[in-house]
Symmetry: C2
Subunit: 195 residues, 2 copies
DNA sequence: ATTATCCTGACGAACGTTCGGAAGGGGTGG
DNA sequence: CCACCCCTTCCGAACGTTCGTCAGGATAAT
């Protein structure tokens, strides 16, 4: 299918050069067609970007829910740590990660509203999943009782963001280093008071 | 001075629309001149970008060293927490923050080498400052002894990155929320074993 | 015959850049 | 004081290139 090959190439191009820097001519040549032929499958550059973006966001959200609905029975530690590692391996091999981050943090000016909405949906989806988990962990005595569930969840998303930022900036090697260090400190930090 | 007004406008433009998305014509019109006049002060778009970028990076590095050389006498907790807050207020009002992050994470393709080099210089500069601080804090019993200084430093940079990422994405309100939560957990996490 | 797909050709607009010259100020020599 | 030249700053006009996009036709499959 030509349309999906266009989407694949566009994803790489948008990720690497951004919306303004990506050229339909180059995308087309990667697919082996002329740029005008893109208009057979998409109404224009905007629609192409939007389709690729929404597809990518949905993939992220789906991964989110899949993970936490399947592994709810695990203990909290491996549940949370496993999610970090899951994102790690996912973002290591997935071309969409860079595109996702770039589009959310630095969207094309005339699409800021749309990307912002989708981004918030992802963030809130994650928080809505995390807070109950923290709450439950507090009740079972794994997490420090004086710590608010919301704070524990926010700090966790901070760890998550820090990891993919490092992954994006410095690559898997240093990303893994940060993953280990940040998780170690985080888990010590939220753990119930030792005696 | 016209040249510096061009730099100011270019900074905002590059931050908001990226290298490819920024237009010399628009930058010039903001200054009140025609785009050709830019070439009186800069040899081209590349040099303009590079000057603004280097200026911005140097400002960041200078802030880094200024802070830690002036406040070395403080206790470790307020030293480290103060630096986070310093970055916070700095990045809240500084137009250069967005430009700095954007240029380092998503640089124009033909300048990847230069921006990467500068970025690494900043990161290593920070680490070289942090590790000795952690080492000293460990010796004085403030930090958990079984924790490596390097891990404590890496986790700290993770907190820092997470804060400015949230600041950039969601604004000061949520940025501050994350700052508080992440610091709370971090400081609990690296603290010496309570009894 | 209809439909899907890709093409050639061309469009106007914007891009960064170059050239030549117009204005203006400052300093120097007559 | 004036005339000269230099030097800085800016602009009009134009360059070649690339951009996204549109119209119309060719080809092949259904």
């Amino acid at each position: 299918m030509t349309a999906s090959r266009i989407r694949e190439s566009a994803l790489r191009m948008f990720a690497e050069h951004g919306y303004e820097g990506a050229s339909l001519a180059i995308i087309a040549s990667e697919v082996g067609i002329k740029k005008q032929s893109i208009y057979t499958h998409f109404s224009g550059k905007d629609e192409l970007f939007q389709e690729v973006f929404l597809e990518t966001v949905n993939k992220q959200i789906r991964f989110l829910h899949d993970y936490f609905s399947n592994k709810q029975k695990q203990d909290v530690e491996s549940l949370l740590y496993g999610f970090l590692k899951g994102f790690f391996v996912r973002y290591e091999e997935d071309e969409g990660a860079k595109f996702f981050l770039r589009s959310i943090f630095f969207p094309p000016a005339h699409m800021k509203d749309m990307t912002g909405e989708q981004g918030n949906q992802f963030v809130h989806g994650l928080e809505d999943i995390l807070v109950p988990i923290m709450e439950e962990a507090k009740n079972s005595g794994v997490l420090e009782g004086s710590l608010s569930s919301r704070a524990a969840a926010i700090a966790y998303t901070a760890v998550l963001d820090a990891i993919w930022v490092e992954l994006l900036y410095a690559g898997p090697e240093r990303g893994m280093e940060r993953l280990k260090a940040a998780w170690l400190v985080y888990w010590r930090g939220v753990g119930a008071n030792r005696k």
